[in-house]
């Protein structure tokens, strides 16, 4: 189901969606947003890309295997928890940096944790969608 209209539109839509998802992730602590919804939006961007251009092309664009994304995301969440344990004596006790960065605010373990959630969500959705689509091709 290749469609020229979809393929062309996607070329402009996907970067916008990804930027928006990162914006939601970074701003999530202060405004509506966060890692979960950000991840969903990024994942749907890649999914639509896969529908328009095929799974293989989508896999190349994502570069990382969804399974690796899942593992990396879980590891990030775990590390953010362990940092609290090591630095402050409690698992997941949040740690905040001093310097303020434009657009991001202060670096912190909750941000790392949320990035972990973001990564896991992308990985989970893409793993399911890509697997289903590959199944579809073989059938």
């Amino acid at each position: 189901m290749r469609s020229l209209i979809l393929q062309t539109a996607i070329r402009y839509l996907v970067p916008l969606q990804l930027m928006f998802s990162i914006y939601l992730l970074l701003g999530g602590h202060q405004q509506p947003g966060g890692g979960f919804v950000g991840g969903l939006i990024a994942a749907s961007a890649f999914s639509i890309y896969a529908i328009a251009n095929g799974v293989e092309s989508a896999r190349r664009t994502v570069r990382v295997d969804p399974r690796v994304l899942i593992g990396t995301g879980l590891a990030m969440a775990l590390v953010s928890g362990l940092l609290g344990l090591v630095l402050d004596g409690g698992f997941l006790v949040s740690q905040w940096g001093e310097t303020e960065y434009p657009g991001v605010g202060k670096l912190s373990t909750p941000l790392l944790f949320d990035t972990g959630v973001y990564t896991v969500v992308i990985g989970v959705v893409l793993l399911v969608i890509f697997s289903l689509m590959e199944e579809e091709q073989e059938a």
Binding site: L24, G28, H29, Q30, Q31, P32, G33, G34, G35, F36, V37, L40, I41, A43, S44, S47, I48, I51, P66, R67, I70, G73, L74, A77, L78, G81, F91, L92, S94, W96, G105, K106, S108, P110, F113, D114, G116, V117, V120, V121, G123, V124, V125, L127, V128, I129, S131, L132, M133, E135, E136, E138, A139
Partner: protein
């Protein structure tokens, strides 16, 4: 000391990475961990021998008084030394034994985890902690028994061992909880002083029986012994480590450790002594009838565990001394012999004793290791086994009881030891002496493979000679169990005593059976066949099959495999439960109190209702899905109107993804057909209306409950102060309730992997290029 336990758990995940880099040298690097732990524990020897006790504690759940408390006394230290010392040798031996096997990395990961768990069992002072480590050893043992996972027998043996030991573990947990209730503490070191209160408590018998079930299953006591011979499907290093030297001794450890709290009563004597004696005799009786090296060793291990249990059951200072001495002796010689069996298998390609003989010329170093271990097992001076046997007879002869009882107990011990002599001869002497027999030309194994058992055998000799050096350590061990101060006088030579005479009888009797074994084996075979019907292993498999059959029958009734059926059941249950609560507890007076409805709310609600109704009338999947999307987006709008932008955004993204998912699978779905009869559809419509009404009432009821939540204002207030965030929803998710979120993303990941596996599994058609298990190793060809 906590670090000693934790280091293994921390190191294990890194092992597969290490294996990618170091390949065949992995064993040498990983073995540094048990080696350094061994050195650490050895450095404690002096302090512990002087009567000191080393403790460490980390707060865990202080509110429940459950903490990570570790404690090393004589008993724990000797166990820790056995675990780390034999561990070091097994790690080295394993590398050579598995040489080139693709799962070597996995082997080292799991065996490192096992070592850490086992250390946890023997060093934990909190019984909760002990239980957790206990179950971890069962679990790692399961993985290691099933190491050759391409073999059906290995998988079955692993499952059987896991079911038996973890079922026992659950009984034990119940017993431990009862015990801690009657003792009023979770710490074993504090229970010891409260044996009076514990044993007077009405829950004592129940606690004792339950805890013993745990110990008996773990230490393969009759009638739970059958999993241990099955576990011989594991690679030889695993049998040497888990199933002779360490894990199977966990039950012995637990009985010894809790003896001061639970032991000494009539119930204890009867239960423990009887189980021990039965296990010892049965194991020994079966051992000499086997012809596979590892099976002989396995049944003799069962027998040896029986001896220790028997001695702990008798429970005098002398029998406890004998049990604890025998523990070390047995770990040393049996660990060595299992490695020897693995080496013989490697060098000749078989473990059948009938096909083996005269290997000592081709495998001189392995033969030397086997001989040293066998002599200790048979209890010949000056090896440590001799001293242990003398102590056993001393223990039974000095029981404070009637002469008849003493004679009976001594006779039981004598028969048990006699079988041990025979097994030693069959497993470690026969293959190496006499005429050369081997399926193909035997060759000596690599240095690590003969050095490891040789070191263990030599230790049996060294400690046997240098008894006085070991004496203070053994004294501290016995004190930990018996409670009172102990002074031992270990010596090789006691003069011409009854014990010595009994030793002589044991060895002669054992030799006689050894010589007669090949002929007698045929003679007793009918007995074995006759008793097969009531063998515990048979009862086990019938129980398992019965459970599976019952579950299958039950599933057929409950699981109809129709989604609509499940939804009906769920909805009817929901309505019934809520309806009951409404009918009995809720007053409907001011339910319809309203703060006014805005026009656009009505419009959205109308759209949602219209869309939902339309879905039921459509007969095309695509349009049905799109119309359902309208329902979802309508709900999203309502979220926005009520100031929940995060919720709305998530709902919106989920709706979008659902459509994408649907587009992906639409071509595979069958055409939408009308399958239900008209009457069934009418019933469903009624049900749908009832559910809708119920949920509406529920919502209204929730609104009438006064909102006296302290949480909302708290989170709103603390969000910025404590977590530097204005978005309360996000702050709760990633900070206040971060642990929940972590659990959720883990569940999500597991679910995704499940979907992936289901899609890839595709049982009907194997696809080319699919990852396949490596070809079965030579194990398969050996035959039985």
């Amino acid at each position: 000391m906590s670090l000693a336990v934790i280091s293994g758990f921390a190191a294990a995940p890194a092992v597969p990475l290490l294996y990618r880099l170091a390949r065949e040298k992995t064993g040498w690097i990983v073995a540094l961990l048990p080696l350094s732990l061994f050195i650490y524990f050895a450095s404690l020897l002096g302090r512990i021998a002087d009567g000191e006790i080393v403790t460490a504690a980390i707060d865990w759940v202080p509110s429940l008084d459950v903490n990570l408390t570790f404690r090393t006394d004589g008993l724990g230290l000797v166990f820790a030394l056995i675990i780390t010392g034999i561990g070091t040798l097994v790690f080295l031996y394993g590398g050579a034994y598995l040489h080139g096997h693709p799962y070597t990395g996995r082997f080292y990961t799991v065996i490192t985890l096992f070592m850490a768990s086992m250390l946890g069992v023997v060093l934990a002072d909190s019984i909760i902690l002990l239980f957790i480590f206990w179950e971890l050893t069962s679990f790692t043992s399961y993985v290691l028994i099933g190491f050759y996972s391409e073999k059906a027998a290995a998988r079955e043996a692993a499952r059987q061992a896991l079911i038996v030991t973890s079922a026992g573990g659950l009984f034990m947990l119940a017993g431990l909880v009862l015990l801690s209730l009657s003792a009023g503490t979770w710490e074993i070191s504090e229970m010891v002083g409260r044996s009076g209160a514990i044993q007077a408590d009405s829950r004592y018998t129940a606690a004792l029986v339950l805890i013993l079930l745990g110990a008996f299953t773990k230490s393969a006591q009759f009638p739970f012994h059958f999993w241990l011979p099955g576990a011989m499907e594991a690679p030889a290093p695993v049998s040497a480590y888990l199933h002779s030297a360490t894990m199977v001794n966990a039950g012995i450890y637990l009985m010894a450790r809790l003896y001061p709290a639970l032991g000494g009563t009539d119930e204890w004597h009867v239960l423990v002594t009887a189980a021990g004696a039965a296990t010892m005799l049965l194991g020994g009786w079966l051992a000499w009838q086997k012809t596979d090296l590892k099976q002989i060793l396995a049944y003799s291990t069962v027998s040896a565990l029986g001896i220790m249990t028997f001695l702990l059951g008798l429970g005098t200072e002398e029998t406890i001394t004998a049990a604890l001495m025998f523990l070390l002796v047995h770990a040393l010689y049996k660990g060595a012999l299992f490695m020897v069996a693995g080496s013989v298998d490697h060098g000749t390609g078989t473990r059948e004793i009938g096909d083996l003989g005269g290997l000592r010329r081709a495998m001189p170093m392995t033969a030397a290791a086997a001989a040293l271990a066998a002599l200790s097992m048979a209890g010949l001076p000056p090896l440590l086994g001799f001293t242990a046997k003398e102590l056993i007879y001393e223990g039974t002869l000095h029981l404070h009881d009637t002469d008849g009882w003493i004679a009976l107990m001594t006779a039981v011990a004598l028969v048990g030891n006699l079988f041990n002599v025979t097994a030693a001869g069959l497993a470690a002497i026969r293959p190496f002496w006499g005429k050369l027999k081997s399926p193909h030309a035997p060759h000596e194994v690599s240095v690590t493979m003969w050095a490891a058992p040789l070191i263990l055998g030599a230790l049996g000799l060294a400690i046997g000679v240098a008894l006085t050096a070991y004496e203070p350590v053994l004294e501290r061990m016995v004190e930990a169990v018996h409670g009172e101060e102990v002074h031992l006088h270990l010596a090789l030579w006691h003069g011409f005593t009854t014990m010595l005479a009994l030793s002589g009888v044991t060895i002669l009797g054992g030799l006689a059976l050894y010589v007669g074994a090949p002929r007698l084996r045929g003679a007793v075979a009918p007995l074995g066949r006759a008793s097969a019907a009531i063998a515990p292993s048979r009862l086990y498999s019938e129980a398992i099959h019965g459970t599976v059959d019952a579950a299958t029958a039950g599933s057929r009734v409950i699981l109809t495999a129709y989604l609509r059926q499940y939804i009906r059941v769920i909805m009817i249950t929901l309505v019934a439960a809520l309806g009951y609560v409404f009918a009995t507890q809720i007053e409907f007076d001011n339910l319809l109190h309203s703060s006014g409805v805005r026009i656009y709310e009505l419009i959205i609600a109308g759209v949602i209702i219209a869309a939902a109704l339309t879905v039921t009338q459509l007969n095309k999947r695509l349009s049905a899905a799109a119309t359902l999307g309208v329902v979802g987006y309508g709900v999203t709008l309502i979220y926005i109107l009520y100031g929940a932008p995060d919720l709305a955004m998530t709902q919106f993204a989920i709706e979008t993804l659902t459509v994408i998912l649907f587009v992906v699978v639409i071509y595979r779905l069958p055409k939408l057909k009308q399958l239900s009869s008209t009457s069934a559809r009418r019933m469903d419509a009624v049900l749908a209306v009832v559910v809708g009404v119920t949920m509406t009432v529920l919502t209204l009821v929730v609104l009438t409950v006064p909102m006296e939540s302290r949480l909302s204002p708290y989170f709103a207030r603390m969000s910025y102060l404590a977590a530097h965030g204005h978005n309360v929803v996000n702050v709760i998710l990633v900070d206040f309730r971060g642990f929940d979120t972590m659990g959720e993303i883990t569940v999500l990941s597991v679910a995704a992997i499940g979907v992936f596996a289901l899609l890839r599994l595709n049982l009907n058609k194997p696809k080319p290029g699919e990852e396949r298990l490596p070809e079965p190793m030579e194990e398969e060809e050996r035959g039985r």
